[in-house]
Subunit: 462 residues, 2 copies
């Protein structure tokens, strides 16, 4: 039986798309206005269907790519054209919110925002939060080990996964949908699949850890003039806010100006002209008391000359205002002729000096117009958006070299949260040793000997 | 060259023990008054020495066991007699406390308590905390993925590891000693080794994540009469204490009585006769305010009849008093004719009913005298100590069956934190599927094809 006929035995017609249906570009890939070319796109509804699909593909050594919300930024779901595409969007059931265990059990295709809403109703919090929350699906989020805005307190996606169900390349189902926080019963297999970008297995279901919903939310925006004071201010706030600090976001002047100057809508809460701006967030239980604590910490910081200016959000609209500025990546992109994005990480102490050097080196390139810098500094994760004159490959590579090369000596990473995909594969050896990469390949070959799962992504195999 | 001669080329005489030196039982294994029998015990000082030792062993297909503090409770470091024992106790350097990154870089042989002290001096906190802190070494702690008393807030050991250096079975060094919280540069290899009980690689060095030291510590002890109220009280306290709750420890009456009745020294802070006792801990920043918050939460809980009685620690000596009771495993052991220990986990909602049933079933066995139950209930992790009349194997197995068998249907685990080792190997299939265990074996064989690393532990290989 040929591939398509074999798939037809598993799926009804409306969940198996081929030929013209695909060419119609129904499945739009973010920032890629290209029609989708593939042998087929399948829409399974159950783990058993995914398993059956993989058995068919495994028998025929047919490569596959798994589609989630396709918001990935490193071409992790970009097809070559000869794959079967498995979209998990129909596995979108939130099957259980468990109030006592404080867990939610979800299909891989559930959109993050729907999870946030479903648990909020039960006065629980799923702390994962990032820009693409309205379209990113939890399966892809787990496969990417997404980070976001609250990692300092709640960790990466990895830390929020209690149970996972995965289909291997040969169709074997590895299922462990436990709701328990502590489980040392031999190897923790789920760790293998989290962050493997669809190259080791297909995530079909997960049990997520939830927290009690916060009753208070406070934010302040401060200005500082020296990077060493940013580090001291981080320690000051983290200590003072005890366990309640959830965000510590740093913005360099070019980013802050872009997000607070027309056509950007928000006015600047603090004047332009400072060297660093930090947005701090706490999630707590008592609005009045927590606000007082934050205010006192700001007063001490001002008194000790850690910060030069500061403003506390006094209302929900202030909160929205401050966070709109920080989350406004669009203003940098729209001001750019062409844009190139980075999500590096490096040790906190090095960030100030290194980013200044990187920015300077980038601006020396004739075709670089501006460098916007911002990031989750408490996690060591800095984002750059480069405004450049063209999409020329030589320029792109020159920019990559300037940003990535200092990271090796510093013990940094070419990807803090976006992953490797296709785009960063060439730079992986800058932050992982040859022995590490060899071991990764060994594991990949062991789990997927025909290289069927997302081939060509993350690692180059023989 | 024979094994010992080859090892002599790597290590000086005083760091290579054989024959009579070993038989002298110099290396005492906790709770095992047996002389150590092995081909040799080696004491490397560097990762390179460990690598050279493994190359020698790999060439000769010589099995090894790694020794840390040997406080393991499931015979994970028990020798068969034909192994080379590698004790990492001389790799005990705390090489750097980084105040900005809030990390400490340590050799595998550093004792936990020494880490706690070293970072405390810098006003930082390494939140791992458990009974064996005075002898457990960090390498073994990571290899076990130890849990302990503060998992609810800070997670298991896994969540506290930023960088790891490991020697594979063939001597390859896999080193990634990064200090960054976010790193999605391809597969997170360290996750493989954490919790693998020395069967996949030898951990030689680690970078640990630190937190700002707390300025306040508060605890309260409460009594409750229904298990459903324990769950409600957990949610009440967790919400109210926002991010500061670090412990929520449940004690059943038999445990509480044993720890507060002579010859146990402490008096009972609350009278005997209640059904459940909970000890809550918070680590915060402001002693006065945090104590007021805890007091108000207790008052609400009393008013809402969640708890029937409660007492707040008013001083450091109260804190010591309450925690001495909770940490007093000794009183249960010393009251037991023979003792058998468990560290199961199960979903929080099921704990009350299931543990009552398990206790009842155990007490129906003629040779079971008493069942002491306590645990980290917020993590789903319950400990049992069984006072039994004999060490007979049939009794031991009958007890194991009663405790372990309900866990399968509940989605629980036969080991929340102690690991599998030798002792729980037979029960692993109760909480992991055949497909999971097959995949574990596949990974083990791939990384250690001659089965040299801690053979016979965790998994049975052909």
């Amino acid at each position: 039986v040929d591939l398509i006929s074999a798939l037809k035995l598993i799926l009804p017609e409306e969940r198996l798309l081929t030929g013209a249906d695909l060419a119609g570009n129904y499945y739009h890939i973010w920032r890629m206005n290209e029609p989708l070319i593939a042998k087929a796109l399948v829409l399974p509804k159950t783990t058993e269907e995914v398993s059956a699909i993989m058995k068919v593909c495994h028998e025929r050594q047919q490569a596959v790519i798994v589609f989630g919300g396709r918001t990935n930024l490193v071409s992790s779901t970009k097809p070559r054209g000869d794959e079967v595409l498995i979209s998990l969007e129909k596995m979108n059931a939130i099957s259980e919110v468990d109030l006592a265990s404080r867990t939610v059990t979800v299909g891989a295709g559930v959109i993050l925002e729907n999870i946030l809403e479903a648990v909020k109703e039960k006065e629980l919090l799923f702390p994962l939060n990032f820009g693409a929350r309205g379209s990113a699906q939890i399966g892809g989020i787990i496969a990417t080990n997404a980070g976001g805005l609250r990692v300092i307190r709640y960790g990466m996606t990895r830390n929020l996964i209690l149970g996972l169900e995965v289909v291997l390349a040969d169709g074997t189902i590895i299922s462990s949908l436990k709701k328990i926080i502590k489980d040392n019963s031999a190897y923790d297999l789920k760790q293998l699949f989290i962050g493997s970008e669809g190259t080791l297995g297909i995530i079909t279901k997960a049990v997520l850890r939830l927290y009690e919903a916060n009753r208070s939310r406070n934010s302040c925006l401060v200005a500082l003039n020296e990077y060493t004071k940013v580090v001291k201010f981080l320690k000051h706030m983290d200590k003072g806010l005890a366990g309640t600090m959830t965000g510590f976001e740093l913005m360099w002047p070019s980013f802050y100006a872009a997000a607070t100057t027309p056509p950007a809508e928000p006015k600047p809460p603090l004047p332009h002209g400072h060297n660093y701006y930090v947005l701090v967030e706490s999630l707590g239980n008592d609005q009045t008391n927590d606000q007082t604590v934050m205010l006192e910490l700001l007063e001490t910081a001002l008194h000790e000359k850690l910060i030069t200016d500061g403003v506390l959000a006094q209302s929900e609209s202030d909160l929205q205002w401050f966070w709109k500025i920080r989350e406004d990546v669009h203003s940098c992109v729209s001001r750019s002729t062409h844009d190139q994005h980075f999500d590096i990480s490096l040790p906190i102490a090095s960030i100030g000096g290194e980013l200044a050097k990187i920015r300077e080196n980038l601006l020396e390139l004739e075709d670089v117009n501006e460098v916007y810098v911002f990031g989750h500094v408490a996690d060591g994760n800095i984002h750059l958006i480069i405004d450049k004159a063209s999409e020329e490959l030589s320029l792109k590579n020159a920019i990559n070299d300037i940003v990535y090369h200092p990271l090796t000596a510093l013990g940094g990473s070419v990807s803090a949260e976006h992953g490797i995909g296709l785009d960063k594969k060439a730079y992986l050896p800058l932050c992982r040793t040859a022995a590490e990469i060899a071991l990764m390949k060994q594991i990949k070959i062991q789990l997927d000997p025909y290289n069927l799962l997302n081939p060509g992504k993350v690692l180059d195999l023989p």
